[in-house]
Amino acid sequence: MPIHSMRKSVTLRKSEGRILQARPRSALDRTLPALFALLTNFQARLSAIQAFAAIGFQTLSVSVIFLDLTGIIAFDAVREWEAGVPGMGRNGKLRSHGKKSQVRLKKTEKGLWVMKHIAIGILGAAAFGLMASAASAATLDDVKAKGFIQCGVSTGLAGFSAPDDKGDWQGIDADFCRAVAAAVFGDGTKVKFTPLSAKERFTALQSGEVDILSRNTTWTINRDTALGLNFAGVTYYDGQGFMINAKKLPGVNSALQLSGAAVCVQSGTTTELNLADYFKSNKMEYNPVVFEKLDEVNAAYDAGRCDVYTTDQSGLYGIRLTLGSPADHVVLPEIISKEPLGPVVRQGDDQWFHIVRWTYYALLQTEELGITKANVDEMKASDNPEIKRVLGEEADTKIGTDLGVSNDWVVNIVKAVGNYGEMFERNVGSGSPLKIARGINAQWTKGGLQYAMPIR
């Protein structure tokens, strides 16, 4: 038996042994759930306290602690003043200091009291003014109540979500949020955008800071299951690629020649993991140069801190435009990963999930049926039963209301952003500086992967 395979079998046995034994767990691993369990157990007995906490905190949250402290102090001071503590106060027992000091003391206290109440007022106002509240379960009701959709986007990625000169967000991801707004409100402008870094994006969605995360986010099983997210569809099939400065590195035309290069990458992304896997599997060395923010990565690459820039290929085309001399940089042909990018919502709210998912399908379906922004009103009169059904022109249709929106939702979507094809061409395709070909993002009828489930 060659040594190589022998070692392999030994390690195998070792790992089997570990499975047979009880899974070794760290002490903390055991105590933390136990602690939580203990506390949950306590809950029944101390429901009174909890009720108090609930009443006390749900309205004011963290600032209540603050208020309480200030309040107690103020209460204390006022009580003391009013009770006429010997030697001090309005009864004026402190003769030796004369009348003047009395008046001054009184004034100071009054001033203190007023100041404290002003402080409380400010704190309260600030807390109320800045605290936004979003729904826990019924996102749709909440969105309707506040009158707009809060949409999480990237901090700026050309073609997907980036603010233009006037500060309006443009791109596929931004337009997708507008489409959802059109479906819900019949008005594509009822969206507010929140730029999020890669690190913040999931917490922002989980905590309800945003209603949809439409931020070039890759659909993975881990995110679907462990992070409590639901992916509603794939608005762009992407893959990770490499970009180099061809002027500085003549002769490099494949990613396999990159051994020893310094690679710029954004931290905390799947990109970072794919990069490690790719170089490892091809037995190449590299030197990671990692940054938190996209603009830092851009700056470092442009300044020559690294030789290679890696991110989703669509992103590379967008970033190339922002570099000092775009013509010098080339995107290498290799695609090293599958990056299906799509909108994400919270788990546990099926209605909202369905609205987002079917907005996506409606965008695809209208393209397949040839319904565009320009011809949508004419199409309503079409004889084609499928078109009539999709546009909500069928008699007694309940498709829209069952979804929780109006029956002309598809018309609203198309009027707001056009169909998927129009959205694509306008933001990343021929109508944009990026000039990305449809490729695998074409309709299934044209050899692509975009396939809408039937709307019926």
């Binding site: 402080a119 901090t155 830092e296």
Partner: protein, 385 residues
Amino acid sequence: MQEHDLSFVRVEMAAAQPAPPSERGLGAWIRRNLIASIGDTILTIIGIVLVAMILPQVINWAFINAQWTGTDRTFCATVAQGGIQPDGWTGACWAFVNAKFGQFMFGRYPLDERWRPILIAVLFAALLVPLLIPKVRRKGLNAMLFFGALPILAFILLVGGVFGLPHVETSLWGGLLVTLSLSFVGIAVSLPLGIVLALGRRSKMPIVKMLCVVFIETVRGIPLITVLFMASVMLPLFLPAGVTFDKFLRALIGVSLFAAAYMAEVVRGGLQAIPRGQYEGADSLGLGYWQKMGLIVLPQALKLVIPGIVNTFIGMFKDTSLVYIIGMFDLLGVVKLNFSDANWATPQTARSGLVFAAFIFWLFCFGMSRYSMFTERRLDTGHKR
């Protein structure tokens, strides 16, 4: 016989003699201060060489060679880099700062609404200056306006959404606006909170004391970034589903709590320096706890630690730059953000922007420290040992 009177009384002072020439004038000054000994001379030579190496370069870069006007990167790039400057040119690109000045001050605050922060800034200055000059009267009213009315007005004006003012989200705020509002609120919150914590730490109530000690020592032991991280990543998990905080408010809470812990230690130092007699005297007058503290102890203690308090303020002012890491754009963040603008990307851009930001920060911090020295001297009643 008057003429023979030997006693002599001088009725007028003799005119002071000028110092001997060797102790006078430039030469003596140089001898005393620059070349007193061989070692001193060597040091002076080293110093002169250092200054001669650095100063002309800095002046050249910042003033003589600097590009003051321009519309894009070509004005600050050499011919080889695709610009108009001669090869080998290095100079500050003030044109970049000039072009981005609005952003540096207000971030992405909407152009049509910028009168609001400007108005607040004018009011801020108009209220602050008389507050700082000791001679101006009506300090009480002034302080009320500054700490009471101005924050409310600023809040209404800057956030908007009422009285027909369009709402401006805090995610659009940026630049010096964010730096100053964070610091102002931080200072206004951390000082009272720090005093409360310091009193709590010296309290006789064991539970209160323990809580204050734990809070102060924990916060002082961890970096601000971790606190901000916690505010931005963990806070949402601590709140009931659906309740969220504005990012700006989160940063505000983080910075204020952090500064409060440091403030508490400074104030505690002051409290410890007050002799026991003062406490006992207050007790014997029959003052209650808050009266004792508010009227007797704190006024003396705070006066003692003015330098420490101002140092904490300065530290906090500088620390506000860390909010850049949790994705907010204060002055430094906005400057940094603009480095990636392809329209301005030159080797000089980063340096110029950073020097500009450093100058602004320096101005505020240096001003604060000088003013604290002035106050310290003014309040010095000569009791200090």
